[in-house]
Symmetry: C2
Subunit: 192 residues, 2 copies
């Protein structure tokens, strides 16, 4: 669907992956607001919602992190194939688990790598977690004491140290328009 | 919507609860086939699918059973509010957990109590589980050595010792038509 037509029943999963503090939530919230204006069916599966409702009891070992990611993927796939626009915001540090979700969902899986150097994330330290991680108070903290495997071929690679959250969100929306998931907005002066 | 009109975006959850061997799967499979002929969006969340994808590691304590039911309910709710017809087939033995799902989903939650005396279920013993349960080889087997709390006000109460699976499934479909979730089938001789 490169012709700008829009299949209203076609769902997709925007999967935001990246370090804590990279900007996943900030960008995804702007994208969510735009999608809610333009689409009927939008669901957000963020880490907290999922940990509460699907993954209580799971810890932060590789196995538990992967299980968490696969559960999010299972639900995202159910929604996507029923025409829902799904936004996932989860560190999801391991490449193989993300790629298993990609295989399940297929071409409607859109991986958005929200990339910022760990030093930048640590400086922002929105939740005060990096301070604790560097002090050794949090074990297995992704990017500090636990691995993060960057996507090799993400659909979008966003470098949040170099652009504003609005610019990043704009790029996500542009991508969805190009792929035909969103109809370009009509204005008095034509199609933007 | 008692006028026979049909809101294509209105989802629902058919929640089949009852003992192992009561007939949940048999009836729900007939209902599923009928729904797939008549609706675009149908998803089945049965016990096995869910244990594999959402609840691996959970056991059969009251707490684990309730967690499993609430997870199914969480996913069923996401799908239902996005217009999907959801079929859940799960023993779901505890009333309070089922009622929490009912509260989440609201009026689109349809509880179908698939009722058969434990003696009848044990005689059928499709999976050979009752034999093992009576021999003490399976602990905490619902209806034998673990409680089952029947629904107090189910939308449908089906007694499978007294009617065929086809008759039971017909009653489910009739109920969905009466509630406006399904459009009555038009035939040459009028509306059936």
């Amino acid at each position: 669907m490169q012709d700008g037509s829009n299949d209203r029943d076609r769902g997709f999963t925007l999967w935001f992956t990246g370090l804590s503090g990279a900007g996943k939530t900030t960008i995804s919230e702007i994208v969510e607001r735009e999608l809610r204006l333009r689409l009927g069916k939008v669901e957000v599966l963020d880490g907290d919602i999922v940990r509460t409702n699907l993954s209580k009891g799971l810890g932060f070992s590789k196995e538990d992190r992967d299980t968490n990611v696969l559960r999010i993927g299972f639900v995202a796939n159910l929604l996507t194939r029923n025409g829902v626009a799904v936004i996932v915001s989860a560190i999801s540090p391991y490449r193989e688990a993300r790629n298993r979700v990609r295989e399940d969902i297929g071409e409607d899986f859109i991986e958005v790598y929200v990339d910022a150097p760990v030093e930048v994330c640590a400086e922002r330290d929105v939740k005060g977690l990096y301070k604790k991680a560097f002090a050794g108070e949090i074990k297995a903290f992704t990017g500090v004491s636990d691995p993060y495997e960057p996507p090799e071929n993400p659909e979008l690679h966003i470098k949040t140290a170099q652009e504003s959250p609005q610019e990043s969100a704009r790029r996500v929306i542009d991508y969805l328009e190009e792929r035909g998931y969103l109809r370009p907005v009509q204005t008095l002066s034509g199609t933007r």
